[in-house]
Symmetry: C2
Subunit: 438 residues, 2 copies
C-alpha cells in the first residue's frame, strides 16, 4: 500500500484500518516513509480526527514498534505515575521512593524538560553523579534492591513515538488528544505495568490549559489503559500556578528531599499532598491497600516514618549519585548565582499567574530547553513566594529569581513580574485535585 | 516568524497574510523550512482552505521565487496555451506553430508526462536530436526567427513550485484548486505573456474528472490571470476519451505532423478542431483578430496554407531536430515493436472509456512515468480505433497496442480491454468544447 493512498484516505475523512496504521508505523520505523509523508498524515489526522479504534490501533502499533520491559521476575506489583507536565511539578521524586516503601515496584521511565515544563531526569541530574542512562537489566536490578529505578527512555522503547513526536513539535500538531494518548500510552505500556496513575494538569501552566480538554484527555488515557489491561486512573490536578515553592532543577530536588526528610515547608505542602494522593491511588489500584482512604494512611505513614527517604538514599547510591544531599539538602540550594527579587507593583490579591510564561522565563535562562539537544543549568530557578489568593502590599516579594545575571536575568525578571495579575478581590480558591477519573 | 506559528494559524482555520505566505515561500526556496514543515502546511491548506486573496498571494510569491522571461525586445504580442493534462492531448505541437504563423510570439514552456497524462517535451523528443533544454536567451532567439520555441522549465522559473509540487505528489495534496492555480499560474506568468488560454480538461482522463470541478478550476485560473494583468480565457474540453487517434509519444507527434501537412485523418479531426479553437482564442485575446469567428478563419487558413507547417519545420531545425520527419512522418510510426489488437468482448455501443486507466496502461509499458526521474520509451503507444458512440461487433478492433512484448504487454492489453464499457444504447454525444470561460 503506497503512503499516498493512506494519506488520501485520512485526508478525505476515512477511518484507517489496523492494517493501514501498522503500515504507517512500520514505515516510520524502517524509514520507508519520509518525514514529509509522516507529517502530512499527522496533519490530516489532526484535522480529520481519529476515532477510539484508530487511537488504540495507533497506540498498539507504536508500543510494539520497540521492546517492552521484561520485569516478570519481580514478584511485587508494578506501578508508575505519569504527569502531562507542569511548572514546579516535581512529585515523581517523592512518589517513586514512597510507592516503593509501600511495596510497589516502580520502573519509572521519565523525560527531560522541554518548552515551559521541567523534566524529572534534569532534576535528578542536579545530584552529582546520578546516572539516568541505565539499561533494562540495570533497571531490573535496581528495582529489586530498592523498589524503584529512575531512567531515561532508551532507544528501543517506542521508537516510532520519538520520530513522530519530534515532527509534531516542528509542525504544530502536538495539541490533539488521540495523538497525545498514543504518545504517552505507547511509552508507559512498554514498562509492563499492573497499575498506572496519570496526573493530568489543568490551568495556565498545563500543556492544555482548559479544564474540559484536560478532562477529555484524562478519560481517553484511562480508557486506553483499560483496553490494554492495565489498571489505570487519572487525577486532574491544578496547574494554574507552580506546584510547591520552587521552580528549577536543583531547587526542586531540594524541595523533594526536604519532604522525604519530614521537613516539608509550608510553601511545599501542595507538593506533599499531591505526592501522597497519587501514591495512594497507585497502591489502591495495585491491590496494596483496602480502598483509597486506607491507601492514603499507608502512604502518609511511610513518608512520616522515613522509610521512603531511606529508599531514596539507597536509590541514589545504586544510580551512582552523591548521597551527601540526603544529609545536607542545603547543598542543592543556589550557590554562586545572582538573586533578584520580583516585587509587587501594587497592593492587592494575587488573582492569577501566567504559569507557562513563568516556566518559559526560567527555561530561557537555562532552567529548561527550547530544543531537545540543549543542555540545562541546574542551578538557576525561582522561589515562588506569593501564590494565588495571597495578599501583598506594593513592593512585597512575589518571588526570588536565581540566575547567572546579565541581560538574560533582567529579561527573565521582567517577564516574571508580568506573570502576576494582582486584583482587588480575593479569588475563589481552586482545589489542588479537581477530579479523579477511574 | 517560526514555521510552527504559520502552520498553527492555518491549522486553526486562520487566513494567512501576504507576509506569512512570503515567509513560507522564502523558507521553501532557502531550505530553511524543511520538507516536513512544508508538507504539514500544505495539508493544512488543503483541509482548511485558501481564499482568493491567499491564492493570489501564493501565486505571486511562487512567481517571484524565480526569474521571469525577459522578451520585451520581441514586438509581437506574446501568448501561450496551457492544458491541465489529458490522454492523447497533443494540441501544443499544432497550436505553437499555428499561432506563430498567425503573428503571435509563443515562448512555450512545457512539462513532461507524469502519472496517466503525457507531456509535450516527451513527444517532441521523439524527433531525433530535438533539444528542449534551451536557455531564456535561446528561447528569445528562436522565437524571433520562427515565432515560437518549445522549452522545458529551467531551474530559475518558479523554483518554489518545483519543491512544493514534488511534495504534493508524495503527500496526496495535488487535487485542490487554489494549490493547482498557484502552481500553473506561477509558471505561466513567468513567461511574461500578453494572452493566455487554458485548456481545462473534464472527464475520465482529466486530472479532476468532474465537470463542476473543472468549471471551478477554470474560473479561478481566469480570475487569477486577470488579476496579474494577462488577458486570459479558459476552455473546458472533453477528456472522457483520448483526444485524436493516438496515445504515446512518437505516434502523437506523427498525428500532429499529419495535421500540419493538411493530411488530418478522420480519427484525428478532434485534435485539429481543438487546436484551431484554442489558437483562435489566443489570437482574439491578443488583438490579432476581430472577434472569435474571424480568428477561427485566420487560424484555419494558416493551417490549410501550410504556413504553420513551415514554421514547425523551421523550429525543428532551430532546436536541433531531424527535419526528415516533416517530409516523411511515417518515420515516427512504430517500428520494431509488437502489435496487439484489443478486441470487443461483445457487440454494442462504446458507451464509456476509463481514459485515466488507458493512460496508465500505456505509461506502465514505458509511454509515461511513475516517478519524475523515470525515462520514457518513445516508440510504445496505442491507436484508439473505437471511440465513444461507435458501434462494434463482438471481436471488432477497439484499438491496437504498440509495445515491447512480454508480461508487461499482456498486462497492458488486458487493462486496455477493461477500459471500455460496451452497452446496448447509443450514448448521448458530448461536445468537444463544453464551456468557454472568459
Amino acid at each position: 500500500m503506497r503512503p499516498q493512498e493512506i494519506i488520501a484516505k485520512k485526508r478525505d475523512g476515512g477511518r484507517l484500518s489496523e492494517q493501514e496504521i501498522d503500515v504507517f508505523i512500520d514505515g516510520v520505523c524502517s524509514g520507508s516513509w519520509p518525514d514529509y509523508q509522516i507529517s502530512a498524515l499527522i496533519m490530516a489526522m489532526f484535522l480529520r480526527g481519529l476515532d477510539r479504534a484508530e487511537q488504540e490501533a495507533l497506540t498498539y502499533a507504536m508500543l510494539h514498534s520497540g521492546s517492552v520491559l521484561e520485569l516478570s521476575a519481580i514478584a511485587a506489583p508494578k506501578g508508575d505515575k505519569h504527569s502531562t507536565g507542569g511548572v514546579g511539578d516535581k512529585t515523581s521524586l517523592v512518589i517513586a521512593p514512597l510507592a516503593a516503601a509501600c511495596g510497589l515496584a516502580v520502573p519509572m521511565i521519565s523525560g527531560r524538560g522541554l518548552g515551559h515544563t521541567g523534566g524529572t531526569l534534569d532534576k535528578l541530574e542536579a545530584i552529582d553523579g546520578y546516572n539516568v542512562n541505565i539499561s533494562p537489566t540495570e533497571i531490573e536490578r535496581i528495582v529489586n534492591v530498592c523498589g524503584f529505578a529512575m531512567a531515561g527512555q532508551t532507544d528501543d522503547i517506542a521508537p516510532a513515538d520519538r520520530t513522530i513526536y519530534a515532527l509534531r513539535d516542528a509542525t504544530a500538531t502536538v495539541p490533539y488528544i488521540p495523538l497525545i494518548v498514543a504518545s504517552i500510552m505507547s511509552k508507559k505500556l512498554a514498562e509492563g505495568l499492573d497499575a498506572l496513575v496519570l496526573d493530568v494538569k489543568s490551568g495556565s501552566g498545563a500543556f492544555m490549559p482548559e479544564y474540559e480538554d484536560s478532562l477529555a484527555l484524562a478519560r481517553e488515557l484511562v480508557e486506553t489503559g483499560r483496553k490494554f489491561k492495565v489498571r489505570t486512573e487519572a487525577v486532574i490536578s491544578d496547574m494554574s500556578q507552580p506546584l510547591g515553592r520552587f521552580v528549577g532543577n536543583a531547587v526542586e530536588t531540594y524541595e523533594c528531599i526536604r519532604i522525604l526528610r519530614g521537613e516539608t515547608e509550608a510553601a511545599a505542602s501542595d507538593t506533599e499532598a499531591l505526592s501522597i494522593e497519587l501514591t495512594a491511588r497507585l497502591l489502591n489500584l495495585a491491590g496494596l491497600a483496602d480502598g483509597p482512604e486506607a491507601a492514603r494512611m499507608i502512604a502518609a505513614d511511610k513518608l512520616a516514618s522515613g522509610e521512603a527517604f531511606e529508599r531514596f538514599r539507597r536509590n541514589i547510591e545504586l544510580q551512582g549519585g552523591d548521597c551527601r544531599v540526603c544529609d545536607d539538602p542545603d547543598l542543592l540550594l543556589p550557590r554562586g548565582v545572582e538573586e533578584s527579587s520580583i516585587k509587587a507593583p501594587r497592593g492587592g490579591f494575587v488573582s492569577a499567574i501566567d504559569t507557562a510564561s513563568m516556566g518559559n522565563a526560567i527555561g530561557a535562562i537555562g532552567g529548561g530547553r527550547t530544543r531537545a539537544e540543549d543542555s540545562v543549568d541546574h542551578a538557576v530557578g525561582y522561589a515562588c513566594t506569593a501564590k494565588i489568593g495571597d495578599h501583598v502590599a506594593e513592593g512585597d516579594y512575589l518571588g526570588v529569581l536565581y540566575s547567572r545575571g546579565g541581560d538574560g536575568a533582567a529579561q527573565a525578571a521582567d517577564r516574571l513580574a508580568r506573570c502576576y495579575t494582582i486584583g482587588d478581590e480575593k479569588p475563589l480558591p481552586l482545589p489542588l485535585i479537581r477530579e479523579i477519573i477511574s
